[in-house]
């Protein structure tokens, strides 16, 4: 999937509708899945999906280099955060849509894993680590808000996120090398 994304986006810049359709076919499940998980509402998730892909079409230059999956996930999360804000959830999280220093790292994550492996690794985390990670990533709320909502001290939340991510990394390394 990732091998052709750069080529396809170059064609989209030249207003090639077939290349855009190929990008849509390759990434719409990922975009819709993330939006659905964050918003819990099929109609809103569809609106976000449509908005994300129309943005890809109208502003392909916003994707400069690196990993297309990682970039489109960031764009999707930001659109979903806009929706959450409009619901008065007031998430403060801001995700820069260009983080060159992360591209090579995220390349590895997206190129070598699949959904089942990640779900299994998440399921293996203790609930006290999985909960703040999922709340943060899909709930669009900051670690301060997670601490407020759960009544757990802020420092404990941060440590659990770090410990959970380290375990997740270890499990995923096992999945990649299996």
């Amino acid at each position: 999937m990732e091998l052709d994304a750069g080529d396809l986006i170059a064609k989209v810049r030249a207003r090639d509708a077939d290349a855009f359709e190929a990008l849509y076919d390759a990434y719409h499940r990922l975009v819709y899945g993330v939006a659905m998980r964050m918003l819990g509402d099929a109609s809103a998730a569809q609106d976000v999906t449509q908005s994300v892909f129309l943005k890809v079409w109208s502003s392909p230059d916003l994707f400069r280099s690196g990993n297309f999956s990682a970039w489109i996930v960031r764009v999707t999360r930001n659109r979903a955060l806009d929706v959450l804000r409009s619901r008065n959830a007031h998430p403060e999280v801001e995700l820069p849509e260009a983080l060159p220093e992360t591209d090579a790292i995220e390349d590895v994550a997206f190129a070598r894993l699949d959904a089942a492996a990640v779900r299994n690794a998440l399921d293996d985390l203790p609930p006290e680590q999985r909960q703040p990670i999922e709340l943060g990533f899909f709930g669009g709320i900051t670690h301060d808000e997670i601490a407020r909502r759960t009544g757990i001290p802020l420092g404990t939340i941060k440590t659990r996120i770090r410990t959970g991510l380290r375990k997740l990394r270890s499990s995923l390394e096992g999945a990649v090398n299996a």
Partner: protein, 240 residues
């Protein structure tokens, strides 16, 4: 390592997860520029955090075909002319021909009630196989082919076909039903019902005059078909 730096490593993890406020994230970014240990921690944790998005990808949960159709209409309106030829390039036909050759092409001729039967009779095909004419039409190099998600619509002279692959089996008691839009009409007309074969393939000859048909849709309907769609279409293609 002191406690304050250990706390910074926790912050780096939260930053990698992308759940920091803009101000906090800026503080961590500045620290990462100067601290090799924290950079190494970030590089270790960021892939795990990024991979979380994959957990949300669900093969069974997809946006409607109608949405794709809306997006592509807008895109093709703005596309470079060369990228949107009136006759799109042919795709490999081997898969369709294999599907056609061994097709248990099931078009349901039994209808739920007599009233419905009368109204659908003219559009129901009773074919149980793929005719030589169909195979010839599907492989005709001058046929117009309109790719759709999971298949293609083929127009040859006045004949119109829907050739699909990898279609999920419809739920118990349900079938797929095609709908066609006559030129000048705003209302989709009910067409044949069908179920894909065991491999998910289906080749459907649509009993309409292709020269005056401008769109095809497919929805999941009760066995016997419906006079009005009762579910969101799984496919919509406007080509006229």
């Amino acid at each position: 390592m002191n406690a304050s730096h250990d706390a910074m490593l926790d912050d780096v993890a939260v930053y990698a997860l992308g759940t920091m406020s803009a101000a906090d994230a800026q503080r961590v970014r500045e620290h990462l520029r100067d601290c090799a240990e924290c950079r190494a921690e970030y590089e270790a944790l960021a892939p795990a955090a990024a991979s979380l998005a994959l957990a949300a990808e669900d093969a069974a949960a997809v946006p409607s075909e109608l949405m794709k159709s809306r997006i592509m209409r807008e895109v093709r309106r703005e596309a470079a002319p060369a990228a949107d030829p009136p006759i799109r390039r042919a795709r490999p036909w081997a898969a369709y021909l294999v599907a056609a050759a061994c097709l248990a092409f099931a078009v349901y001729s039994s209808l739920v009630n007599l009233s419905l039967e009368r109204q659908l009779k003219q559009v129901q095909t009773a074919s149980t196989g793929v005719s030589d004419t169909t195979v010839a039409d599907l492989t005709n190099p001058s046929a117009q082919r309109f790719p759709v998600n999971g298949g293609v619509i083929v127009r040859v002279h006045d004949r119109l076909y829907l050739a699909m692959h990898d279609m999920p089996k419809p739920p118990q008691g349900k079938v797929y039903q095609a709908w066609t839009l006559p030129k000048g009409s705003k209302k989709m007309a009910p067409s044949v019902t069908f179920v894909p074969n065991a491999s998910g393939g289906a080749v459907v000859a649509l009993p309409v005059d292709a020269r005056i048909t401008t769109a095809v849709a497919v929805s999941v309907e009760p066995v016997g078909g419906s006079l009005q769609p009762t579910s969101k279409p799984v496919l919509v293609e406007q080509f006229g």
